[in-house]
């Protein structure tokens, strides 16, 4: 049989929380093991000492003042009637669900922004290749176009619109693109 110390059971032994089987195991082991017997005695002394610890008594005056303070706070904050928080006032979403929703919304926003920026850059690149519209002018034009697209959309407000290329741009390949 494997020799095992019983220190992990000493707390429950002193609290009377062991099963009869574990109780017998501890008692048999402690009878023959000095290390565990020593540990059990130390723990017994510790728990006995802790039971004797008392907090100080701040006096009757303190508790009277305390009651007055609590009464003042509860009556001024709530006009004399207890605030009853019924279960129906609990939030619709639990904190965990709310966190997930916020993360999801943040991810969608990031995706949308990344997609929009990449599309916008492509258009701006195209305007540079064309060479007849400055990037600043194109940016202003693109914004105006995208706003117009949103307004004219048959689906209604809230539809995601990407800027249409300005009409005054003539597309052409950059000079070094043709060999």
């Amino acid at each position: 049989m494997q020799y095992r110390h019983t220190m992990h059971l000493h707390g429950d032994y002193l609290d009377g929380d062991l099963t009869p089987e574990s109780l017998r195991l501890v008692e048999e082991h402690v009878a023959s093991c000095e290390k565990c017997r020593d540990d059990l005695l130390r723990l017994k002394k510790l728990t006995a000492t802790l039971r004797h610890i008392e907090s100080p008594d701040p006096g009757e005056h303190y508790f009277d003042d305390l009651l007055e303070g609590i009464s003042a706070r509860t009556s001024s904050e709530n006009q004399g009637a207890p605030i009853v928080e019924p279960d129906t006032l609990r939030p619709i979403f639990s904190r965990q669900v709310l966190k997930t929703l916020i993360r999801l919304a943040a991810a969608v926003t990031l995706l949308f922004t990344a997609f929009y920026v990449s599309d916008f850059n492509e258009e701006r690149q195209a305007s540079r290749w064309a060479g007849n519209v400055s990037p600043d002018r194109y940016a202003a034009s693109a914004t105006a176009d995208s706003a117009g697209y949103l307004l004219q959309s048959p689906v209604g407000v809230g539809v995601v619109g990407f800027p249409f290329p300005p009409e005054d741009i003539e597309y052409s390949l950059p000079p070094d693109a043709v060999k």
């Binding site: 002394k45 510790l46 802790l50 004797h52």
Partner: protein, 189 residues
């Protein structure tokens, strides 16, 4: 007594303010004592005691079983005390040692000892216990106090700390082991 308390809680839930006052009177010493043992100073214990009753006043509607009012009180007080303990630790502000201030109060051992040598030893033991308890993480400290000093069962502690009994068992084992190590010279058989 439990029936009286449950009756008062029911009256309080129905809006009887006098019942609330009676409940405060019945529990204020217990809450203060618990808070003091966790926080080890009067001003924090005072804050916890006041705030506990103000919160009870606001949250009494959440208590479904009036017979568990004492656990409800202990839970609010313990949670607030743990929060305060974490805040104090987080700020790392050098607090004055209250034991050295005039007119302040500190923990004591209830045993009346006539022997001056024994009295000195008890004082040293108490100082060592206080120091060792201060080093425990808040939840371990609260578990040890609720179980070993306040004498609550593991089931009650689990209800108050809102955790499984196995967690109480484990926190208690760790806290006791740490204290046993720190207080080795006082505990030799």
């Amino acid at each position: 007594m439990t029936d009286d308390i449950a009756g008062l809680v029911s009256l309080f839930q129905a809006g009887d303010r006098q019942a609330f006052t009676k409940l405060v009177k019945a529990f204020r010493r217990k809450v203060y004592a618990l808070a003091f043992k966790i926080l080890l100073n009067h001003s924090d214990a005072d804050e916890v005691t006041q705030e506990t009753f103000v919160r009870i006043y606001g949250r009494i509607g959440q208590l479904k079983s009036p017979e568990h009012f004492d656990s409800f009180v202990y839970r609010i007080a313990t949670n607030y005390a743990i929060d305060l303990l974490r805040k104090r630790r987080g700020r790392m502000v050098a607090m004055p040692n209250e034991a050295e201030l005039p007119g302040t109060v500190q923990l004591a051992l209830s045993e009346k000892v006539a022997d001056p040598e024994k009295l000195l030893e008890n004082k040293q033991l108490l100082a060592a216990i206080t120091e060792a308890a201060e080093e425990l993480p808040p939840r371990q400290r609260a578990t040890l106090i609720l179980h070993d000093i306040e004498g609550l069962s593991k089931e009650e502690v689990a209800r108050i700390m809102n955790c499984p009994e196995a967690t109480v068992r484990s926190n208690l084992h760790i806290a006791r082991s740490k204290l046993k190590k720190k207080l080795a010279k006082f505990l030799s058989p």
